[in-house]
């Protein structure tokens, strides 16, 4: 068990190093940050001076090692755009992204599994069929179109929910939460729903397919023969056996949710790390881009590690093989 974790950790570090190196080499193609940092009437000499001060004329490798050296000391530098420390900015905006991801993961799981079990059992009912066809929309439409559509429906036409922004936050120490006020709930519903739609569809279809297969299995027939209640069969025996692939997918996709939140946050002006990243790309704010990409890589790595560990808990067969 311990060796397994250590091996995984070593792999994770390697992944981090590769991701940071690749992302860093890409920054050279994003453009010249100095252009955005000074007004149009700045002189050429001034631009050169600033490039030198920032070390932008050094070879990429030198810049990379300088970044890594500073990063290992938890110094990610100052944002070119808003001139504040990057680590502070990420920590400040992280709660918004994590709460959004959490809310949409919950929506995706609860609705996805429920609808998946239902459509798996009542294959031919009209409700199942309509759920399946509506769910197609979830996978085929791009996130920003769904987001804009929801905004027009719920904010412009019906005026039930705010169109954008994160209002009604309550501060708990440094963490700002949406979940303690009605306003907070109102503002998180639309972005969370938008972000969850794709995952929800995927979970629904996965659970449904697994359910269809499991329901044919012998142990379900035996459970029926034992006279167990239908509900107990469906949710205890059948569902439990569908969960291993579902958890894998969810694990991978929580990382995906964080990455996808870039688009959702931009559409809804949700003040999280994704919105900050998009604005950084626009501005060529290298310190923020570098730190954010490393952060996302870290999230993926951690989530995958946790998923691997969860297998141990859920499936005894892996535990045996793991030795």
């Amino acid at each position: 068990m311990l060796s397994f974790i250590l091996r995984r950790l070593a792999q994770s570090l390697l992944v981090m190093a590769v991701v940071s190196a690749i992302s860093f080499s890409l920054f050279n193609f994003v453009g010249d940050p100095v252009n955005n940092m000074v007004g149009q009437d700045a002189t050429r000499e001034d631009r050169v001076r600033i490039r030198n001060e920032l070390g932008l004329n050094d070879p990429v490798l030198t810049q990379y090692f300088r970044f890594m050296g500073n990063a290992l000391q938890a110094d990610f530098g100052l944002s070119y755009r808003i001139k504040r420390p990057v680590d502070e900015l990420i920590i400040e905006r992280l709660p918004a992204t994590l709460e959004l991801v959490f809310a949409s993961a919950v929506i995706a799981l609860v609705l996805g599994i429920t609808a998946g079990v239902y459509t798996g059992i009542r294959r031919n009912s009209w409700l199942s069929r309509s759920i399946l066809s509506v769910s197609l929309v979830g996978v085929s439409l791009p996130t920003f179109i769904i987001g804009i559509g929801l905004i027009y429906l719920f904010a412009v036409i019906l005026r039930w929910l705010p169109s954008s922004g994160r209002s009604g936050v309550v501060e708990l120490g440094w963490w700002k939460t949406n979940f303690l006020t009605l306003d907070g709930w109102r503002s998180i519903i639309l972005p969370a729903l938008t972000l969850s739609l794709f995952q929800m569809t995927m979970i629904l279809r996965l659970v449904r397919a697994e359910m269809l297969e499991v329901m044919q299995a012998d142990f379900i027939k035996f459970a029926r023969a034992r006279g167990l209640a239908e509900r107990a069969i469906n949710f205890t025996h059948a569902l439990k056996n569908t969960l291993v692939p579902v958890i894998t997918i969810i694990g991978i996709n929580i990382g995906g949710l964080i990455a996808f939140s870039v688009i959702t946050e931009t559409v809804f002006q949700w003040p999280g790390t994704g919105l900050m990243f998009i604005q950084a790309v626009d501005f060529v704010d290298v310190p923020i881009m570098a730190a954010y990409l490393c952060f996302v890589a870290l999230m993926f790595v951690v989530v995958n590690l946790v998923v691997d560990l969860l297998y141990f808990a859920i499936d005894p067969r892996i535990r045996i093989r793991g030795r």
Binding site: G39, R84, W160, S163, S164, Q269
Partner: protein
């Protein structure tokens, strides 16, 4: 049935609550809730010379002289000014307080100019016109210039006054350095003399400003805004949705394609004005061989007939009609009306005449045209990429084979600054409203944005002469002479002057300004 009832009741409850909140807001005071694409980058009034930052800081800070919405110079912290051979004397307004209660005096003017001229200031190009500041008494200063400077007041409208004591106490005597490791106090805190003071600031989320009770101009301006709530919304469709749903009263930059729809909505309106910004193509006539052309060993753009052919083959009226949905003014100059030097004689666009263009190309020795790359930004000006696409199609008709490279501004502008582009789109705004700003950057051979390599001895000479010529008539004649030369030699191919559109609720009266600046002291909310 019961199910439906509860659901309905819940929804009714939610909307009642929403209405209640809105009503509560409206009753308390006049709150101007507005949005635009990008937030101010910093509250430090000297660290970033950029549109949204200047607009926000202009509500909090003030300069000696300012411009009203009609772009006329107005006294702000100076009550009057007179010119002298070696500078200008400014009589300061008395009784002006900073937001923290400190008095505004001559020593703050001295300090502010020193700060603006420091190396880490982004306003040092404007401030360097002032060689030094002499204090005559507490409320009189003399801004000393190197020789006569006829347009100094024009150059001072975005040099904001900072309190010396406050800056010293908070260790922000200098604007933040790019190589700095820590955030300085003035990034999120401000202390100006302006009509509004910062109540709270969360960058990219919400900035709340409230009226400053001790403002000198209280009662002298028509505006009745008590509080300003600014929420940047990056996505254009979301920005429009926020206006349509009544969550904001004012949108500074509604997307052009949505204007008709906003105007058709009850309770909303659009105002437009010609912007102080012209859009044009630059042609590199300085190098001996173009980098991207199939013509080797010579540069077609060196021949004025080729440059004229380019001008004649672009249908400016079609670009206005099709690409800009009518929201532009086609032009034959690279600077708009409102800037000293734009004249009704020179402003009309070059005619659209593809036949003559073909003939000119043949005459110049390129009967089959040539190939070239056009560099174009895709996130800077209104419909910038679409303008370039249209031009590519138009130039193809006369045989010029253009390959388009449309890229983000952060990659596009360095090509111009480093002079590594053959053919490019650029827009130019003129904060001083004087042609000198256009000549010195775009037409002088040393101009830092002149990637055309254009080098005309007389134009260079005039650029120098108008910095010191104080006789207005002589100076204007020189400027007109230079524009005449440029009209003949066509180093650029002008397209149009941009139009600004603002969208707002019917109850908001905000005078639109050609510099795209929202001036809340004139905003009336009914």
């Amino acid at each position: 049935m019961r199910h439906y009832l509860t659901k309905g009741a819940m929804m009714a409850g939610v909307s009642a609550l929403a209405l209640g909140l809105a009503a509560q807001n409206a009753l308390a005071e006049n709150v101007l809730r507005w949005t635009s694409q990008g937030d101010a980058l910093t509250l430090d009034p000297m660290s970033q010379n950029e549109g949204p930052t200047n607009t926000m800081n202009g509500m909090i800070y003030e300069s000696l002289v300012t411009r009203d919405a009609g772009m006329t110079l107005q006294p702000e912290l100076a009550e009057s000014w007179t010119s002298a051979p070696d500078g200008w004397t400014f009589k300061l307004r008395e009784g002006v307080k900073f937001h923290d209660g400190a008095d505004f005096t001559a020593e703050d003017v001295v300090f502010s100019f020193e700060r603006a001229k420091s190396e880490s200031s982004d306003f040092k190009e404007q401030a360097k016109a002032v060689a030094s500041v002499e204090v005559i008494d507490d409320y009189t200063v003399k801004l000393v210039t190197d020789g006569p400077n006829p347009i100094l007041p024009n150059q001072l409208t975005s040099i904001y006054m900072v309190d010396k004591g406050w800056a010293e106490t908070n260790n922000v005597v200098l604007p933040q350095d790019f190589a700095a490791k820590e955030e300085t106090y003035s990034v999120r805190n401000a202390n100006g003399t302006g009509p509004f003071m910062v109540t709270s600031r969360a960058p990219d989320e919400l900035t709340v400003l409230s009226a400053f009770d001790g403002w000198w101009g209280k009662g002298q301006f028509p505006g009745n805004v008590d509080k300003i709530e600014y929420r940047p919304i990056a996505n254009a469709a979301t920005r429009v949705a926020a206006l349509l749903s009544g969550e904001v009263d004012f949108v500074l930059d509604p997307p052009l394609q949505d204007l008709k729809r906003i105007e058709a909505t009850d309770g909303l309106k659009i105002t437009t004005v010609a912007q102080i910004r012209s859009i044009f193509f630059g042609m590199d006539q300085g190098v001996d061989e173009l980098r991207s052309s199939n013509i080797k060993g010579e540069n077609p753009f060196k021949d004025v007939r080729v440059r004229e052919a380019i001008n004649l083959s672009i249908d400016k009226a079609a670009i206005q009609r099709v690409v800009m949905e009518g929201l532009s003014f086609p032009t034959g100059m690279i600077t708009p009306p409102g800037v000293l030097g734009n004249t009704p004689d020179n402003d009309p666009p070059y005619p659209y005449d593809p036949e003559k263009a073909k003939a000119l190309l043949a005459e110049a020795g390129y009967p089959d045209g040539f190939s070239i790359q056009l560099d174009c930004p895709n996130n800077r000006y209104n419909n910038d990429e679409k303008i370039c696409q249209a031009a590519v199609a138009m130039l193809a008709k006369v045989g010029i084979d253009v390959s388009l490279s449309a890229i983000p501004k952060a990659q596009h502008f360095p090509k111009i600054q480093n002079r590594t582009t053959d053919f490019y789109l650029l827009g130019w705004g003129v904060p001083t409203l004087d042609s000198h700003y256009v000549f010195s950057y775009l037409l002088d051979k040393e101009g830092s944005w002149n990637a055309t390599g254009y080098d005309n001895a007389r134009v260079n000479e005039i650029t120098g002469m108008i910095t010191t010529e104080t006789d207005i008539e002589t100076r204007t004649a020189l400027i007109t002479e230079a524009w005449g030369i440029i009209k003949e030699e066509m180093p650029y191919a002008p397209i149009h002057h941009q139009v600004i559109a603002w969208a707002m609720a019917a109850g908001v009266e905000a005078p639109i300004a050609a510099d795209d600046g929202l001036r809340p002291r004139y905003v009336v909310m009914n």
